[in-house]
Amino acid sequence: MTLIFQIVSPFTTIEHDSVSMVTLPGADGMLGVMPKHATCLVDLQPGIIKIYKNKDILKRYITHEGVANITPERCTVSVEEFHEIDDLDPKVLEEDIKRYHNDLAGVDIEVEERILEAKIKATEKMLEVARQHFKK
């Protein structure tokens, strides 16, 4: 018995068939999803998603905050941004944060300010998670 795992962002979609287990960074703590998991919606915070196939880690993705839609056969994660951790250079995230700060300096609309601040917060958290991962 296996699980289909899909991760979607506005810019990329990746699907893995035949996954044994997925661990997700839930807002209330880490969460393991295996085949026949109860149907649920989970709030995700920035962190690392690990995909297991036969006890081995198949892939690791670092993600922005989002939502996971879990059914017994499928786990769909919808996030604004994600990166495969082995391909990620923390400098990219640092540059993103710098760019958001520059954008924030030139913004005078309250809504845009709020969105940029949320982006900075989420990217900083992603950077923190990435740094912790690379330390290990």
Partner: protein, 291 residues
Amino acid sequence: MANLKDLRKRIQVVKSTKKITSAMKLVATSYLKKAEGRYHSGLSYRNGFQGVVDRLCRNLKAIDTEKENELIVGRKGDKCLLILLSADRGLCAGFNGNIGRYASKRIQVLQEAGKKVHVLCIGKKAAGALKPNHKQLVEKIISMPTDRHYHDVSILVEKVIKDFYEEKFDTCEVIYNQFKSILACLPRCEPFIPVQPSKESLQNKNQDLYDMEPMDDEFVNKITTKYLVAHLYAAVVDSQVSEQSSRMMAMDSASRNAEDLIGKMELKYNRTRQSIITSELIEIISGAEAL
């Protein structure tokens, strides 16, 4: 009979026009490929959230909320906001005209039902394609740069939600050109606020009850906002891919038309030149015979 110099000039003009339309066709093809990538990802992202929202709408009563979420359950009222998506530029056949006419029809239907309609245009061209008496309903025209669609859509949706809670409108619909194939795109109107479950979800009545972590207002609001952003983003990229395919087809037919025109004019030019030569020869021969 047109003189040779004029014909030569006209042939040159049509040839330069053909060069421009061919170049524009190549540019539109390249944009179309990029837009298709964004379109598929945008659609998957929206479908991901649609599944979540379908479940959310079904299980709303089980969620511990302080008050009903008006973005999902809706609100009674007669003010309707239409978000109209079009292109910023022309030269894309009937793309802008079709959406303008479709929007005018929708406005008429809503007005006949006693609704007060306001229009928000994304793209500069749609407002011009509306019927003259509907142009005054346009509140704002926004232009959206290609490279930062998602960011701009997030900001726009936040503003729309803010206006909804300030009771500036009670329902909202999105009108855009839906991409069917490179040859065809159809105008489409979709309800935006209140959030609607998909048709499949309404037909399938045997869905499990959902657990939610956490089960509170904040999470429901987060999902609803993200779904609305995903919905509008999918519509924007859908409209953009339709625009590029329309422009590509329009430029292709313009190039072929220019080719036909050049062929016809060259034939005319050669006939005229030949007739001038013939008449000159006749003059020389008749002159020689007279001597």
